[in-house]
Amino acid sequence: MNVKLIFSIAKSLLLARWKQTLVAAIGVTFSITMFITLLSFMTGLNDLLDGLILNRTPHIRLYNEIKPNVNQPLNLATNTEYQHNFISSIKSGNSRQEIYNYAAITEVLKKDERVLGYSPKIIAQVFFNDGAIDITGIVNGINIEDESKLFHFNEYITAGNASDVEKLSNSIVLGKGLADKLLVNIGDVIQLTTSKGERFPLKVVGYFQSGLQEFDKTQSYASIATVQKLLGKPSNYVTDLQVKLKDIKAAPAVTKEYARLFNTDAEDIQTANSQFETGTFVRTLISYAVGITLLVVAGFGIYNILNMMIYEKMDTIAILKATGFAGKDVKRIFIVIALSIGFFGGMAGLLFGFGLSSIIDQIPFNTAALPTIKTYPINYNPMFYLIGSVFSLITTYFAGWFPACKASKIDPVIIIRGK
């Protein structure tokens, strides 16, 4: 009832005290601005840091670990209810590192709806020969096209051309740190020794820079065929199968399923990188905590100003009541006042928050570790704006609630008599 009237009275009261109103609204604007900026920046940073690892990490890794046979012959022969065997110094059997039934597994993966894509990989331990010194390192045999599509491999190539690895046989892309240690330039030929003792010359066609220095000091990439040749293995030899799912959250479940189905070892991204999730969670939590604290402080500002306003407007409230406005009408008027401070302050806060984050988005941010990043990262998630506006309304509503209740209970007789 009478919504229009209540709004018009609220508006008149607000405008009559527009300076105080403005101060209250600026408080809300400030906190929403900071809330939006903080969250956009923090999550931008989170995404960047996570991306550093998570973008390049498969959701599921299928591999064969070298480990002792679970079914030791002694147990198979003598395991009874009355006997337990303690076996010490077990050695791993002559198990193979390659994935069995590679072709059959890929057939299944291709058909699986949940799978975004997969990329085979061979990991080979080698020594890079640098004169008299041997540097231990790893050559990853990869399919450049799949690897780029699924794990952004091409984005980390800072010099040279990634596709050359596929085109030129016996070519290699070195981590920047490794290349610096070996003192080689693009086009040079390096020597490496496999774990079996064979020496190979490979041509350097590019550098890559992942952002993780230690990683770049040991890693290098070559085509699958090249690494198979290095190891003297046939063309179906693959040690790792990296799977990317459509939904990262499904990884643990699918991983278990695959481990059983393919009878291999399988690891999901959550287990492999649990520390990142924790970090992300804590950073997000801090941003929300700071944002909400700011809002609560703004809420107290509104509370104070409304209390003051009610104190000043005792006469007005008494007259409204004497002329037929009920307590609940008076309450509504003050809640509308509080909510409009929250609404307009909040809207301005969203705009300023967007503006401020866009400005941060333009600030150059160059670091050797992150070749693809040029400016500070910002995440423009509309969710933050939604949360910001909802929170500004909720806090101002509660800030207005108590003063409004107080106003609604004012006894007009006391005020009118008091003169």
Partner: protein
């Protein structure tokens, strides 16, 4: 026998601060439609207290109050507010207009609250009331820009906006000079005699009281006497 608009039955009121004092003691009277009644008495005898009870603003009393033959005792706060809005126009000693609004808007507010007419109609009615009180030219002014006498006339216009059954005034001329008091009295008289408006006015201006139709005299929380005045003014 004409229609009873307001009836007080055995109304008593105590104040408990700091000790219990009986301020109103067994007040009984009734007001008929079209009556122009004044209440007089020494300062502190309980006139205002009585008027606040009669206007439904004060609910802390004993006895019964009937407006239009309906008891107010059982009504809730919101219902009483509705009664005040619809049936009672109140004029205070200090004009009590809202500074945040223009003169016209002040007059309109109770009408808008009633919601019986559209905003346009309420505005037209408010204009009519202002013109009737010869202050139509002040409609768009801010409350701070008009004189005390004019303010009291605006307050009367506001009291009239919903065509109330009764207008109550607590010393409405108490704060005005002779000339303005006279204007306000003439307005009340005109309302009573030309528009058959019921009026109940507290005053301690004996000259004012004598010229109303009936005067209720109070002393120490009781009604001393109630006498009809000669129609002489």
């Amino acid at each position: 026998m004409s229609e009873i608009i307001l009836e007080a039955k055995n109304i008593c009121k105590d104040f408990h601060d700091p000790v219990t004092i009986r301020v109103l003691n067994n007040i009984n009277f009734s007001i008929n439609k079209g009556d122009f009644v004044s209440i007089t008495g020494k300062s502190g005898c309980g006139k205002s207290t009585l008027l606040y009870i009669l206007s439904t603003m004060d609910t802390d009393y004993e006895g019964e109050l009937l407006i239009d033959n309906v008891s107010m005792n059982e009504k809730k706060e919101a219902q009483l507010a509705k009664v005040r809005n619809e049936k009672i126009g109140f004029v205070f000693q200090f004009h009590y207009l809202l500074n945040e609004f223009s003169v016209l808007r002040n007059v309109m507010l109770p009408g808008l609250k009633l919601g019986k007419y559209s905003e346009k109609e309420v505005e037209a009615r408010a204009m009519d009331k202002l013109k009737m009180l010869d202050i139509g030219h002040l409609a768009q002014k801010s409350v701070n820009q008009i004189s005390g006498g004019e303010k009291q006339r605006v307050a009367i216009a506001r009291a009239l906006i919903n065509d109330p059954h009764i207008i109550m005034g607590d010393e409405p001329t108490g704060n005005l000079d002779k000339k303005n008091s006279e204007i306000v009295f003439d307005i009340f008289k005109k309302l009573a005699e030309e528009f058959n408006q019921t009026l109940l006015i507290v005053t301690h201006d004996q000259n004012f009281a004598d010229r109303t139709h009936r005067t209720i005299e109070m002393e120490d929380g009781r009604i001393l006497n109630s006498k009809a005045n000669a129609f002489n003014s």
